[in-house]
Amino acid sequence: MMALSKQMQEHDPSEIELLLPWYAAGTLKPGDVKRVEEALASDPALARQYAAIQREYAETIALNETLGAPSRRAMQKLFAAIDAEPTQAATPSRGLGRRLLGFFESLSPRALAWSASFGILLVLAQAGIIAAVLMRSQPATFQTASLNISDRGLPEPLTRAIGPQTRAIGPTQLSAASVHALVRFAPDARISDITTLLNNYKATIIDGARGGLFTLQLGDRPMSQDEVSGLIARLQREKIVNLAVAAP
C-alpha cells in the first residue's frame, strides 16, 4: 500500500488521495470516510500527506477570516435596489394557479372535453343528491288546525330553512343556513394554510378578493347568533387571518 501510494504521487493520484481534503473538512460521504480511514491506518505516506492537508485546511480558514466583512454600503445599496424593484406579487395562490393552468394546458383538447363533460355530470349528480337529502329532511310545510303543540306539552319542531330567512326557536335566533364572513388573510399566508383553515371551518370561498377581502361561507348548518359570534372571534384569532367580520 505504501509503495503503491508513492507510485501514485509520482504519477496519477489514487482515489483515496483525491478524497483526503474532503475527509479533513468532514464533508465526505460515510462510505468514503471508512475507506479513507482504513487507508490512512495502513499507509504512512498517505498519513503524511493528510497532515499537510490539515495545515492547508487550517491556514485557508485563517486566510479567509482575515478578509473582513463588507461595509454597510453594500447592504444599503442592496436594499435601495430592492425598494426600487417593482412590488412582487404576494399572492400565495400564484404558484398553485400557475401549476393548475399548466396542467390544463398540458391536456389535449379531446381529454379536456371529456374532463369538462365528466365535471358537469358530477356537479349535476351532486346537486341531485343534495336536493334529495333536503327534501327528505324538510318538515311538513303545513300544520293541521287541530294540532297545538304547546297544548300537548311537546317540544316545538325544529325547522330547517333552505332560504335565507331565519326562524325563531325559543329565545335564541338561528342565523340563515349560510353564515357568511368577510376575511382578509395575512400577506404571508400560504395556500396550504388557507386550505387547512377552510377545512377546519367547513368553509368555502364564495367571493373575492375585492380589496383583499374574501367572502367565506362558514359551516354547513344553521347557527345561533352566539355561535356565529364565537366562530368569527375564533377566526379572527387565526394566525393567517388579519381581519374577520360577519357578513350579511
Binding site: A52, L67, A74, L78, A89
Partner: protein, 189 residues
Amino acid sequence: MSVTQAASDETLIARIAQGDRLAMQVLYGRHHVRVFRFGLRLVRDEQVAEDLISEVFLDVWRQAGKFEGRSAVSTWLLAITRFKALSALRRRKDVELEDEAAHAIEDMSDDPEVVVQKKDAGDALRKCLKALSPEHREIVDLVYYHEKSVEEVAEIVKIPENTVKTRLFYARKKLAELLKTAGVERGWP
C-alpha cells in the same frame, strides 16, 4: 414560523419569493460575509466584491421564486457569486490579471521578507494560497473554507465531480511547489 425563529434558509427563500423584505435581511445577515469573502478571493478588489454581493442578493430577491431546493441555499449563493465574479473579471483586462498573478508569485521568491517568513510556515502557506491561480484558489476555498462536498463544488463550478477532485489535487501540488520556492518543505509530495 416567524423569521425571528431559526427559520431555515429554504423557508427564508420561500418568504422572499413572496416579497418578504425582513426574510431578505435575515438571509443577507446570515450569508453576506461568506459570499463577500468568496467574491473577494476571486476578484481581489474590495470595492468590486462589495458591488458583487449587492448584485448577488438582488438576484436572490428576483429569482427566489425559481429556487427549487435541489441544492443548499449557500451553494446556490456561491454559484451566483462565482458567475458574477467571473463576469466582473471578464470586464477587466486579461493582461492586468496576468501581471497581478505574476507579481504575486515573484513576491514569493524575491521578497527578502519571505526569508524571514520561512520560519513561519503558516504565514508562508497563507501567502502561497494567495498566489494560486483563480481556478485553484476558488476550489481550495470552496472545499476548506466553505466546506462544500464534491457534489456541491461540481454544481458551483459547473465541472464534473472527478474534475473537482483532480483540480483540487493539482491545486495542492501547485501550492507545494510555491512553498518549495519559498523554502518551505512539508514532506509532501
